[in-house]
C-alpha cells in the first residue's frame, strides 16, 4: 500500500481526482483490503467531524451487508437446487410410471389380439361353412353372369359355373374333416352317376 494510493483515495472522496484515475482506483480498491480499510476510516472521520454521531459510530457495515446478501443468494440457490432435485426425481418417477403403465396396457391388448387370432372358429351354419368368419383364406363365389369379357367362349363360362358348384373349403379346417367331406362327396357323386 503506497501513500500515493491513499492520497488518491482522499482526493477521490472529495471529488478532486481525475476521472481516469478515479476509475482505476475504484477497481483497485475492490480487490485491496488495505485500500478499502482506508476508505472506511476516511469516511468515519468525515462522519465524526460533521457531528454525524447521533447514532453510534458504525464501522464496516458494508462487509456485513454483502455477507448477508451473499447468504440470501446462497439460500435461494440451495432452495432452487433442492426443488430442482425434487422435481427431477418426480419427473423421472412419472416417466417411469407412465412407461410401465403403457407397457402393461399394451401387453394386455397384445394378449387380447393374440387370443382372438389363436381362438378356433367353428362354422355353425351352412353359409359359414362356405364363407367362415375370420377365415384366413376363403374362396369367393363368383356370380355366373359376371365377366369383364362377355365375348369369351362358352367353355370359360362353363368352367366358372363348375367351380362355383364345387364345395368351398376354408383352408384352416383339419385335414381329416376335409378328407371325410371329399370322400362323402365322391361317394355321393358316384352313386348319383350309377343311378343315372
Amino acid at each position: 500500500m503506497s501513500d500515493k494510493s491513499n492520497q488518491n483515495i482522499s482526493e477521490l472522496m472529495d471529488g478532486e481526482l481525475s476521472s481516469d484515475c478515479s476509475k482505476f482506483l475504484l477497481k483497485r480498491m475492490q480487490s485491496d483490503s488495505e485500500l478499502k480499510s482506508s476508505w472506511n476510516t476516511y469516511h468515519m472521520l468525515r462522519s465524526c467531524l460533521q457531528k454525524e454521531h447521533d447514532a453510534p459510530l458504525i464501522q464496516d457495515l458494508g462487509s456485513a451487508v454483502v455477507a448477508q446478501l451473499n447468504s440470501h443468494e446462497h439460500q435461494k440457490t440451495t432452495v432452487a437446487k433442492k426443488t430442482n432435485g425434487w422435481l427431477k426425481s418426480f419427473t423421472g418417477g412419472a416417466i417411469a410410471a407412465s412407461v410401465a403403465l403403457f407397457a402393461v396396457f399394451s401387453f394386455n391388448n397384445m394378449n387380447q389380439i393374440e387370443q382372438t387370432v389363436n381362438q378356433p372358429v367353428f362354422a355353425k351354419t351352412s353359409k359359414q361353412l362356405i364363407n367362415p368368419p375370420n377365415a384366413t383364406v376363403v374362396r369367393v363365389e363368383q356370380p355366373t353372369g359376371y365377366s369383364r369379357f362377355p365375348s369369351l367362349t362358352p367353355q370359360v363360362q362353363e368352367y366358372i359355373n363348375e367351380s362355383n358348384n364345387q364345395l368351398t373349403i376354408p383352408v384352416y379346417y383339419n385335414t381329416d374333416y376335409v378328407n371325410d367331406m371329399i370322400i362323402k362327396t365322391r361317394v355321393h357323386n358316384a352313386k348319383y352317376q350309377a343311378d343315372e
Binding site: 482522499s10 478532486e16 478515479s22 476510516t41 468515519m44 457495515l61 458494508g62
Partner: protein, 209 residues
Amino acid sequence: MNSAEEDKMSEKTLDAELVNQAKQGKMEAFELLVNRYQQKVANVISKFVKDRHEIQDVAQEVFIKVFRALPNFRGDSSFYTWIYRIAVNTSKNHLVSKSRRIQNTQVEFEEAENFSSNEDQRNLDTPDAVYARGELEQTMSKAIATLPDDLKTAIVLREVDGLSYEEIAEKMDCPIGTVRSRIFRARDAIDQAMRPLLQDENTRKQNVR
C-alpha cells in the same frame, strides 16, 4: 473552469459509478457504497429508533433493500436522497412491527412494574460492544485533537465547512498541492491511530460470527 476541473470525477459521478458497478453485480462496489453512507443512514434511523443495537440492524436492512431496489434507481435524484427515503420508511416500518410485537407479548405484572418505557434503558448491546464503540469514538476525537494546526484547519475547512481544495488554498494562502497533502496527512494520521482498534473490532466481529 479549466479542462482539469472538468475532467475530475465529482462526488455525484462517483456515486453514479459505484451504483452502476453494483447494478452489474459487483458486490465490492456496493460494499464501498455502503461504507460511504453507513453513518448518514444510521443517523437518519436514530431519529426514529433509540436502541443503539437496533440502529445497526435497521441500517443493515436499509442497505439490503437499497441493493434489491438498485435496478429501479434511475439517478433522477442524488443517491443519498434516494437512500434517505428508504431509511425513513424502513425505520417507520420497524417501529410499527416492533409495537405489534410488544402488544403481542404477555408481560407479567411484576415485570410490568419494572418495565421502563425509556428505550435507552433497554439497550440490548453487550457491555463489550458498547465499550468498543465508545472507545472508537474516543480514539477518533483524541486523534483529531492531537492533529497539528495546519492539518486540522485544512480537514475542518473541507469536512465541516465543505470548501473545495481551491477555496481552502485561498483561505490558507498556500498552493492547492499543499492543501491536497495536508488533507491527506490529516486523514492518514487518524487512520493510523484507528487501525489497531479497528483490527480488534474486526476480530471481535469474526469471533461473534
